[in-house]
Symmetry: C2
Subunit: 296 residues, 2 copies
């Protein structure tokens, strides 16, 4: 009942109205894996440089995350630096790809056949490369971003054709499908082959479109958003870790997966870097999921 996450591993320097952190643990694979680690055995596939801090490795190990697929290469770890003027959109100050520039994901044997695979936000060509290595998976999902929709929409289309679930935000689905109405947009993605589309709407929550059905989930209210980085990754990680335990994409499974993703995203944005996702009390998570259900 395990989940494999393939994505970026980064050291982030982030400034928000609430403060600043330097070279803090980040990257789509890290946010997603940590969020997932509470609900299903999680394996991460990514690349780091020789400078990747040992406490970061220990944190992942403490969360039981399997690091067979985490390659260490000569050179420095991928670095991203961004500043949030408001909490909706980061301005990228710098990107140093470093060892991530030549990332060529190789699934170790232990990652070729599991229940859930999350292709977190990386180049669609790399997502395809992973899809070509998998043997048997029950659920495969992809996330993406505006940058790839601009740069290589055809490759992204190839990915969407081959996955079960697409995570995408409302601006991105409009950009990719050229449909102003997000529901029409979702139907186009389903027409390509996806079984479910989960549209993220930031502070307003998300809506899942699947099997001629809809499920709306509000965002879990957060007193103070300190750092929105990784919210979508935490959502997708939480979501896919729940699906790893399910044999059907039932209405009920979809609802629970969305709520679980929603709560992990809320916990994530309440603190900087991955602080909001580490060493959590699972009772607290359960209570939040119940509250969310109660409120909608």
């Amino acid at each position: 009942m395990s989940l494999v996450v393939v994505g970026s591993v980064a050291l982030d320097t982030i400034e928000t109205p609430s403060g600043k952190v330097c070279d803090a643990l980040g990257g789509s694979a890290i946010y997603a894996s940590l969020a997932a680690s509470y609900f299903a055995p999680t394996k991460v596939v990514g690349v780091v440089g020789e400078d990747f801090p040992q406490p970061g490795i220990e944190l992942l190990q403490r969360h039981g995350i399997c690091l067979d697929g985490l390659e260490t290469k000569q050179g420095k770890t991928f670095r991203w630096s961004g500043k949030y003027q408001n909490l909706n959109q980061a301005d990228t100050l710098s990107t140093e790809l470093n060892v991530f520039a030549d990332f060529s994901p190789q699934l170790p044997p232990s990652c070729r056949s599991c229940e859930s695979l999350l292709l977190a936000n990386i180049h669609p060509a790399l997502q395809l490369q992973v899809l070509n290595q998998i043997e048997s998976y029950r659920w495969v999902a992809c996330d993406t971003m505006n940058y790839w929709i601009d740069l290589c929409p055809e490759l992204l289309t190839e990915v969407i054709r081959r996955v079960d679930i697409v995570f995408i935000n409302e601006d991105e689905i409009r950009q990719y499908t050229k449909s102003h109405n997000i529901f029409s947009g979702a139907r186009k993605l389903i027409g390509l082959g996806a079984r479910a589309v989960v549209i993220k709407q930031g502070e307003y929550g998300s809506v899942a479109v699947f099997d001629n059905d809809l499920f709306f989930a509000p965002a879990y209210p957060v007193e103070q958003v300190k750092d929105p980085t990784g919210a979508g990754d935490a959502f997708a990680g939480g979501f896919m870790s729940y699906l790893a335990t399910q044999s059907d994409l039932s209405k009920l499974a979809m609802r629970k997966a969305v709520r679980l993703g929603t709560v992990m995203a809320a916990l994530n944005v309440g603190d900087f870097s991955v602080e909001g996702l580490t060493d959590l009390d699972t009772n607290k998570i359960d209570t939040m999921i119940k509250e969310l259900q109660e409120w909608s």
Copy 2:
């Protein structure tokens, strides 16, 4: 089990990306009353000029709306003209107050004691004038807008102190309470004396804050928004008409009221002026309410 709506009655000229209408039926009291008329006997209090079209009167009568409180004064009916560049915000092109300039709402005896009173969006001084005339009401609600929050926040505070329910949109609650977090803002309004605050979030739906509880409702998906004018009024009218039939502001009543308001708002924006609210099949409304519940 009846509802009284006090507000503006207008002839609107509206242009949106979907088309244009001239001197069409509008105003907060009209949108709210028509939406309410499907669920509770509804009485409208407002003023029109001698030029108010007879088909408009007949439409209200056909919906069983009591017009005892609709005064006809010498002069022309209030006119508003607006253009929507996008569907979130209208640019006002012209406002001719006409007979509305001297509107001084007088409740006829039949409107002084009912179940529900909606003080739709008009000057808070007029809302207070109505509050000074009522004798016995179970539920009193007010709506408002950014213009009054700018112009006379103290008068609005007086209104909020004296009502049970406040309808307000997310920008307005931030503006009025100076709190970025809408939930903290709602708690401030509750601190002033309101029992429930319903925060409208446009295409994202709404959230009701009451009795240390929350209820999130998504917007009902609309294929094509033709004219967003009156969406908030239709919401409030639908909401308050349901409360007119309820003796308690229970969790269940609040949920049903919000869903009913949500569906009436969706029906309203699907066509120009009040076209989306007229001569509706109540089975269709019931189905939409059930769908909304099913999807969240």
